[in-house]
Amino acid sequence: MDFAFLGSTWLTLLSGLPLTLKLASGAVSCGFVLALAVAAMRVSGSRLLSGPAQAFVFAFRGTPLLVQVFLIYYGLGQFRPFLQEWGLWPFFRDAYWCALLALSLNTAAYSGEIIRGAIGSVPAGQIEAARACGMGRLTAARRIIGPIALRQALPAYSNEIISMVKATSLASIITLMEVTFIAQKLISQTFRAVEIFVCAGSIYLLVNVAITRAVWALEWWLSPHLRARPREPAALEAAHA
């Protein structure tokens, strides 16, 4: 095995990691905010709000992400005069912003459903108790439903974050020089597909393992109520005696 080649390849690929991370974190943050809106619309009880949200989710979950990327980057380019008139052209001309937009919308659709499911799983009795003591809708959402749903959504949401990290690789197709772009370029130059695949794959795996661990930690931190019962003071004293 050619360790020198592996090492240099790894370092070369690593130079694409900042862009990969920037895309993933940007998409996850923007997508989360959008997802909150989508979920809120879905559970609002108003057809006027939940209808459009449902259509959005249907369209973005039913089509490949790559088609969404192309539609935004190449497809909207067809309306350049119009976009220029509105001052949006600098945004839609830029592959980075288009990729970010497509990724954000895509994850918003999936995460919106995750959040909606989590809200639906909050026990009705606990929401009722909030209403019964005079809480308004916003307070109940912020103090009761939000925290319980967040804890509930975490495992599924961590999968979605990992999906997004993987999905950033599609940005390479519209010429963004992130890890997969560099890997593809190296492969077509050297034809050493296996080695380069191993290097690129290991980078993604490391990132995803780190994310999984971080979410586990967050989960643990957010769920003291599901952990073992705290030790009784009396038991502590007995232990000291």
């Binding site: 249907f58 369209a59 039913g62 089509t63 490949p64 992400l65 790559l66 088609v67 969404q68 192309f70 539609l71 190449y74 497809g75 909207l76 380019g77 067809q78 309306f79 990992i162 993987k166 999905a167 950033t168 690789s169 599609l170 390479s172 197709i173 997969t180 890997a183 593809q184 492969i187 077509s188 034809f191 050493r192 597909a193 296996v194 695949f197 690129a200 794959g201 993604y204 795996l205 995803n208 393992v209």
Partner: protein, 236 residues
């Protein structure tokens, strides 16, 4: 009006080509899903009943393939396959570059990826099959292979239908990535049409609509299947 002509079935229209491409999409997805059933079934079996090294291997496979971009896997097979074939051809005295058939590459890559997800589905479904039903099969004197064929496999498929539906949707959508190998499926055909007409928007929109149609029909189909297979099975 203009878009109707572009997407229509007239002499200047791309309608027929897009429909043919849609058939290719469904074909590559079906092949990928079938290959995935093999990989996934093997991996699930290894994780349930395999020896320690086999289990370890299967664990590695599912973790790896679910943590690495599918596009990378496709590149591996496309370029790696070509390199291997070229080397092989050169060993037999041929010169130049040998490409691998895009359909096979795509199906294999999709199979490997979806196998990792299918393995989870099969394993989960197997764990949901009640022990007692297997014991009952043993009690009437079934051999292990017979029990597997008559009792375990049908039950695992029943419990696995919803999960397999999700994996199928995933494969359908990931199949768009195979367009990078030049296979003329929906997305690649749309790219070609968009390039030659300089009208990307209607064609990518049409591509989206085609995928939406296929995924919607699949959702409906799996819904029906779920109803059928779940007869007599209480939902967990």
């Amino acid at each position: 009006m203009h878009a109707v002509e572009l997407l229509g079935f007239g002499p200047a229209g791309w309608g027929a080509a897009l429909l043919r491409a849609a058939a290719t999409t469904v074909l590559v997805a079906l092949l990928g899903f079938a290959a995935g059933a093999v990989f996934g079934g093997l991996a699930a079996w290894a994780r349930i009943a395999g020896s320690a090294p086999l289990r370890w291997l299967a664990d590695g496979y599912t973790t790896l393939l679910r943590g690495i971009p599918d596009l990378l896997v496709i590149y591996l097979f496309y370029f790696g396959g070509s390199a291997a074939l070229t080397a092989l051809a050169q060993a037999f005295g041929a010169t130049g570059f040998v490409g691998v058939p895009a359909l096979a590459t795509g199906a294999l890559a999709l199979g490997l990826v979806s196998g990792a997800y299918q393995a989870e589905v099969y394993r989960g479904a197997y764990l949901a099959v009640h022990r007692g039903q297997m014991e009952a099969a043993r009690a009437v004197g079934m051999s292990t292979p017979l029990m597997f064929r008559r009792v375990v496999a049908p039950l695992v498929l029943r419990y696995g239908v919803p999960g397999l539906g999700n994996v199928w949707q995933l494969v359908l959508k990931e199949s768009a990535l195979v367009s990078v190998t030049g296979l003329v499926e929906i997305l690649r055909q749309s790219q070609i049409a968009a390039g030659s007409t300089r009208e990307p928007f209607p064609f990518y929109l049409a591509a989206a609509a085609l995928y939406l149609a296929v995924t919607t029909v699949s959702t409906y189909g799996f819904g029906r299947l779920e109803l059928r297979t779940l007869r007599g099975v209480r939902r967990g």
